[in-house]
Symmetry: C2
Subunit: 494 residues, 2 copies
């Protein structure tokens, strides 16, 4: 650790300088300034560029030493070959001002390229940081976002549009791959309501700030409700797993860990130079410590959103309420595959009310935990049934599927579902699947704008239900484990 | 079988009557007429409605008997309770004209509702059909599409837009669930280039025309290159499997079979009344006979498209060419999980050329079958590498992943990829993944418009590669099995 500063300099710095800022929209040094402006970073931004007087309306400076105001965070996007000059400038400034606490080195061309030059440049960066007591994120990273203190040091272009920026939310994400980070940001931005992050960090080469530093920071961060990680490999496996295990007792940790196969591990090694580690070590530790391992990007995004936006189920009793037979059967298969889950035997009175209220074509509780309300169900029937299931204490989680039949007013349905959420503080999670594709985009936007997640397919929802129920069961067991009695437990938070 | 007519009356009828046609856009009887007009059905459409003179610009008739022209196909969308009157009208017409060969009964409220009334109505329908030698699709179905002879009897609203109608293609699909059929049509319509069907049939209750009838028809249908099925259950399991097995030697059969678990099977039984059957019987038969079983809707659509649009790989040697490290590692894991697949050891000269041509940050053949061309690769470098791999005979299939870095002109890249396809008759399949989400929609549209499929994520592409390679290997083995020597084999077709 080159400096003892806390990581808060990255998430709430007093003024930011961007070394390598540019007026050329095809340069990362332009997008970074633009993103900082678009997110409305409330303090001062100082572009550093030897040849420009003005960048995106901001006064530019030839070097860091020239900036009169306090600078707590420096973003480096200059080519790696000038790192010696940049660090000399930092030395010069620090000799007088002693103000810089953090560097985000976004540029590539350091140790990750695995050449003597690359390694030497990373050494120059890190030695300079160390002698000035500065923390470093990167190099070779996309940047850092904090939606609460309005920081965005990334050069991801999607964020340049107001409409694709998510609101400040409860998800904090750490990515070991810049491309994966950019993809996840783009996917999140193009979902019906953009994904709501608290913090987002692309950690690149982890020359200083690494998984454990960030996990510990997010552990204490009150706006972080769910932590997501994309991981390739990390040398201190044991400490990492211990840290994740401790945090999982307080807030859910969702991990996409790659390098599971020997070929994948070999590719990981040639990518970040990191050793993927024996996958079965991770696999069994994740299982044991309630760390949610996901199989793919969709499952990761779906699971993080559900954990952020919906309460945790109290138990494992699921009810599937479907408007469409085929997708319903498909979902029953997907739910049944998870031995963690069970189906709710609803109360006699709920059963009666559903039978009386639903169309004659409907099938109720045959099998248990299942109702097919049929294509003839009206919007009111859709909604009444959901309300009955929300009120029934024998149901812990509801999966609701609708294909939205051609002649059902789907935007009215969406509005009514959004109202269920607006009117009641949800006491149990409610997973909505609206099929299919872009044809129901507007309906999904209405529901998501109200703060409820929607899912693309029945099996994607089923995976999320299994993940959150497994996590709930872990918390229940976890808090009873010997030596864990005193641990804070997240169950009450939701 | 109530009639001995061939199924061609459904796919190429001489004139169509729609009983229950409507001027109300919120009725299925309106959408059906509209869809027939939108697809440019080349022959005559006769709306039947006792109260209207004119429907969507077409002269309406009070009953079938009044229509002067020949009618080969009748679509029934009247409420099921008037089936007695409708069948009497058909009797009256047939006594004079003897022209009707097929009925698509789209209306619900027949045997599927499992009441004495529902069953009695289905009996009226079927007895009437039998005495007049008429084939029946349905009841309780979405309808029939043939993109070659320009038939669309469905009431799926997405098809009312010109832009969401796929071109005539090689995929023919049979769905046992109307909701699943509608969803699949909607998903297909909202992909970057709408899915290209040859025929699409929602078979509903299978009161007459069933899986086997349709499979046998599609087996001989020259425009059908790939057959897809969504199945819940079918009583004549043995005959069905034998039929699918015979067809799989000629053209690929892709199946989403639900009711895999006891809960799923129970839901299937209450849906279509069909018995899902022991899943392990299907599972082992599908494996043995080269029938491609898919896990979900995405995999089904992806696999069908790849089989329709791309050549089959000659062998199992895959090369992964990625612009992004993280997604590349993730994809290596996904590919490696399939023991069917192997990685290509490319020729020494290809290796040399890739190393010389790619940016210095690139990793080539480390591990074998893998190149990470890095975020600094230009459009030309993207494309040159693909061309080298296409030319190398040691590669049977190429997976190409790009996240499209912020500063790479993605639409130019898309145009160049489309050109690869336009300029050369592809001798090997080439699976393109462009991440992520709607941010690259335009690039995906450009590529798909040229006739190449694109995939949403690396793991979705990996699943498709595994499916098609497994099928190719089956064909190679299949044609060598005892008693199979004389069978026609599809390998040459691709």
């Amino acid at each position: 650790m080159p400096g003892s500063n806390s990581l808060s300099c990255f998430f709430n710095p007093e003024n930011i300088a961007v070394v390598g800022a540019s007026n050329n929209p095809d340069k990362a040094g332009y997008v970074i300034i633009n993103n900082l402006l678009k997110i409305n970073y409330p303090k001062k931004i100082f572009p550093v560029n030897a040849h420009e007087e003005n960048i995106l309306g901001l006064s530019a400076y030839a070097c860091l030493s020239d900036i009169p105001d306090k600078i707590e965070l420096v973003i480096l996007i200059t080519p790696s070959k000038v790192i010696v000059e940049v660090m000399a400038d930092i030395d010069a400034r620090m000799a007088k001002k002693k103000d810089i606490k953090g560097i985000v080195c976004a540029a590539a061309g350091y140790a990750e390229i695995n050449t003597p030059e690359g390694k030497a440049r990373q050494q120059v960066l890190m030695e300079g940081a160390k002698r000035n007591n500065i923390r470093v994120i990167g190099p070779n990273c996309i940047g850092v976002i904090d939606n609460y203190s309005k920081i965005d040091t990334t050069f991801v272009e999607t964020l340049m549009q107001e409409s694709s920026r998510g609101k400040a939310g409860g998800i904090s994400f750490i990515s070991q791959s810049g491309a994966m980070a950019a993809s996840i940001l783009m996917w999140g931005a193009s979902s019906p309501a953009p994904l709501s992050y608290s913090k987002f960090v692309s950690i690149g080469n982890m020359a200083d700030v690494d998984f454990i530093d960030l996990l510990e920071y997010l552990e204490e961060d009150v706006t972080t409700k769910v932590i997501g990680l994309y991981m390739e490999g990390y040398p201190k496996t044991r400490t990492l797993i211990e840290t994740m295990a401790r945090i999982a007792l307080k807030k859910p940790v969702v991990v996409l860990k790659v390098g599971r196969t020997s070929k994948g591990a070999a590719a990981a090694s040639s990518h970040t130079g990191s050793l993927a580690g024996e996958d079965r070590v991770y696999e069994s530790a994740f299982k044991q410590y309630g760390i949610i391992r996901v199989e793919n990007i969709e499952e990761m995004i779906d699971t993080m959103r559900a954990l952020d936006l919906l309460p945790l189920p109290r138990g494992n009793k699921v009810f599937l309420y479907t408007q469409a037979g085929g997708p319903g059967i498909f979902c029953m298969d997907a739910l049944s595959k998870n031995t963690t889950l069970d189906f709710a035997h609803i109360n006699e009175s709920t059963r009666e009310q559903l039978r009386n209220m639903l169309p004659s074509f409907a099938t109720v509780c045959c099998p248990e935990g299942y109702a097919d309300i049929s294509a003839s169900a009206s919007v009111e029937q859709h909604v009444q049934g959901i309300n009955l299931l929300i009120a029934d204490p024998s149901v812990d989680a509801i999966v609701f599927i609708t294909v939205v039949p051609t002649f059902l007013p789907r935007n009215k349905l969406a509005e009514e579902i959004a109202n269920i959420y607006r009117k009641t503080v949800l006491q149990k999670p409610f997973y909505t699947v609206i099929m299919a594709g872009n044809w129901v985009r507007e309906a999904r936007e209405t529901i998501e704008a109200a703060g409820l997640p929607t899912f693309e397919t029945p099996d994607r929802a089923a995976k999320v239900v299994a993940n959150v129920v497994r996590y709930t069961q872990f918390l229940k067991k976890g808090s009873k484990r010997p030596g864990m009695e005193g641990q804070e437990n997240a169950t009450g938070q939701y």
